[in-house]
Symmetry: C2
Subunit: 364 residues, 2 copies
């Protein structure tokens, strides 16, 4: 990984404009820190459909396989909403996850102290919130077979999906959660519906086994996913690391993200296993979507994508110091009162996407 | 249904003590309103396991089939936590749902004006909140086959569940949602993950078809379940009626319940289809669990169970006026400042389970 190859996939909607601000930070790193990247850019999602008829071209997939990391903007928009299931923009993202083997999705839910007021929750409930959700990303009902829609005649149809997990799928993602917990609050909450689903029973038993065998020093609690959805609203600070499956993770991580009130601030990382050379595939992306309604208007918040790039520095390029510099610069700019529209509050200065990017580069 | 037969299943934990307060209201109705019920009581959950070795005896199931309505307290507790999946207290509840054909679970999430402060959300976000969640209750991954855990050898196991819906299952629950919407805000939000699950594609298409054919006057919006989990936190008052499947409904209805800050206040109804004589099976239960930690201490809030009984009066016994009387009495007692421990706040009077029951009967 010495040439630090990064594949950039800006995607649709606000993707390209937030990615522009990342390029400025990359440039700054090149000039000021003498850290350079071998950048490539390509299409994903709707823009790939428009160009190639598919949401992710094979050639793009090959570039992703070859890169040290992928940085993605966002995919989707009304233009492609009525396409068939199998060719929608989202399939590009799902293909990347599956073929790169990105089984561990790290979704921090952090409440930035300058933005406590942006939350719909009371300040005392979310102030200082710092949860790490580890979502399984290449298994479960997202990829399980059999699946599909069958015609039963008489106007009746039947839609089927399969929720499936194996021991090793559960262990490898739980391991990521336990390792992360050791560097944080040392507590893991594992979520499933073991009271109604056998796949949840297996999940619970295997997480417990791995814990007892290798991570007995880490606190482990099991919680039904419905209860977790409640506890996140009631008292989110009770959580340190949450580990859960693909579908529950999709829902709980979005719920947790919204607790912070500032979706435009939240990055994510999706990691694979290390290969023989120690290299692991990785994809970084903001939690927010493509926000087609504000695309091209210089209204989007570039911070989530910048922080996703910072996560790439930390997890893929062994540049933790530079990651911290970016994170600190973001915090300082917020403390200085600059706000994009999504996180605006009275008494602050409302700025555009590029002005926010400017300020962060200047702070660096 | 002229003898108004009601099967009462107090269940475990705080179940019996909250049910005692319902009996007092039943008695009051008998004496003061000359409305009497043919009551029977039986066991469900852990208490049934202790007595019969199963969470729901066949004889109890027969009584439930014969009754006009079932009123359930709560099931489960640490004593039965380590039992095998197939004989846990929850199976009693699931058997009742399935064999009575209770496909439509009505879960109101209402923020009582006297209790706005109990919410972890800002008052302006939840004040006046009134959502009705209609959860499909007899299908989906809860009951789909194949299911189970397989041994693959080499210490590997595989856990499987099946998510499955048919056209008619979707139509009948969507119909309940559209009918309810017409009597409320006339808007339905249907939630699934049609972007990743074919069963969700079918759900979306069939809800839309039924809408266009029979309920074109009702507003209909489709929303991915992860987005719904976010929107519930961000701006819950945007919703009127939400209709969704069994698993998403489990999670979203619990999240919505917790927004109100007072789980001890929320009732639910589970309804089947009307038979030839116009009778429909129905089960009513509070949203809260069995709360084993406070059981037997006279700390539990009986209001959710009383309001579940009120729902029974409205939906099973055609006694809407009496239902309203109970609901009004509850509101007046709250306005008077009485609070059980779970909804206590400074300046109010903390009372026991039976004192709360007293006050409500007196108010009646
Ligand atoms: C776009 C969609 C396929 C995706 C998912 O469901 O995983 C998204 O919601 C996410 O969480 O990244
Ligand atoms: C107890 C459990 C089986 C049940 C469910 O998952 O349906 C509960 O969470 C509920 O919502 O009634």
């Amino acid at each position: 990984a010495s040439n630090r190859s990064l594949l950039v996939l800006p995607g649709d909607g606000i993707g390209p404009e937030v990615m522009r601000e990342v390029y400025r930070v990359v440039e700054w790193m090149d000039h000021r820190r003498h850290v350079s990247f071998a950048l490539q850019e390509d299409l994903v999602g709707g823009s790939a459909i428009d160009a190639h008829g598919v949401p992710l071209a094979d050639a793009t997939m090959e570039k992703a396989q070859a890169a040290d990391a992928v940085l993605l903007g966002a995919v989707g928009g009304p233009k492609w909403d009525n396409l068939d299931f199998s060719v929608k923009p989202e399939r590009g993202l799902l293909r990347l996850r599956k073929e790169l083997g990105l089984f561990a999705n790290l979704r921090p839910a952090i409440c930035f102290s300058a933005l406590v007021e942006a939350s719909s929750l009371k300040p005392e409930i979310v102030e200082g919130l710092d949860i790490m959700i580890v979502r399984e990303l290449t298994g479960g009902v997202y990829f399980g077979e059999p699946r599909g829609i069958e015609d039963l005649g008489n106007g009746e149809r039947r839609g089927v999906n399969t929720q499936v997990y194996t021991t090793s799928e559960i262990h490898r993602v739980a391991r990521v959660a336990f390792e992360l917990a050791r560097k944080r609050g040392n507590r893991v909450t594992s979520c499933e519906k073991a009271n109604v689903m056998e796949s949840g029973v297996l999940w619970r038993e295997e997480v417990q086994k791995l814990h007892d065998a290798e991570y007995a020093d880490v606190g482990l609690e099991h919680m039904y996913a419905d209860n977790a959805a409640m506890q996140l609203v009631r008292a989110p600070k009770q959580f340190d690391v949450i580990v859960t499956d693909n579908l529950f993770g999709d829902i709980l991580s979005d719920e947790a993200a919204m607790l912070t009130g500032s979706l435009g601030m939240l990055p994510s990382a999706s990691l694979g296993d290390a290969d023989a050379t120690g290299r692991r595939h990785a994809l970084y992306e903001p939690v927010h979507g493509s926000a087609p309604d504000i695309a091209g208007k210089e209204l989007a918040n570039p911070i989530a994508t910048l922080l996703s790039f910072a996560m790439a520095l930390r997890y893929s390029f062994d540049l933790a110091d530079d990651a911290t510099m970016i994170e600190t610069a973001v915090q300082q700019v917020l403390a200085g009162g600059l706000r994009t529209a999504d996180i605006m509050s009275t008494g602050k200065a409302k700025v555009s996407t590029s002005t926010m990017g400017d300020a962060i580069v200047r702070e660096l």
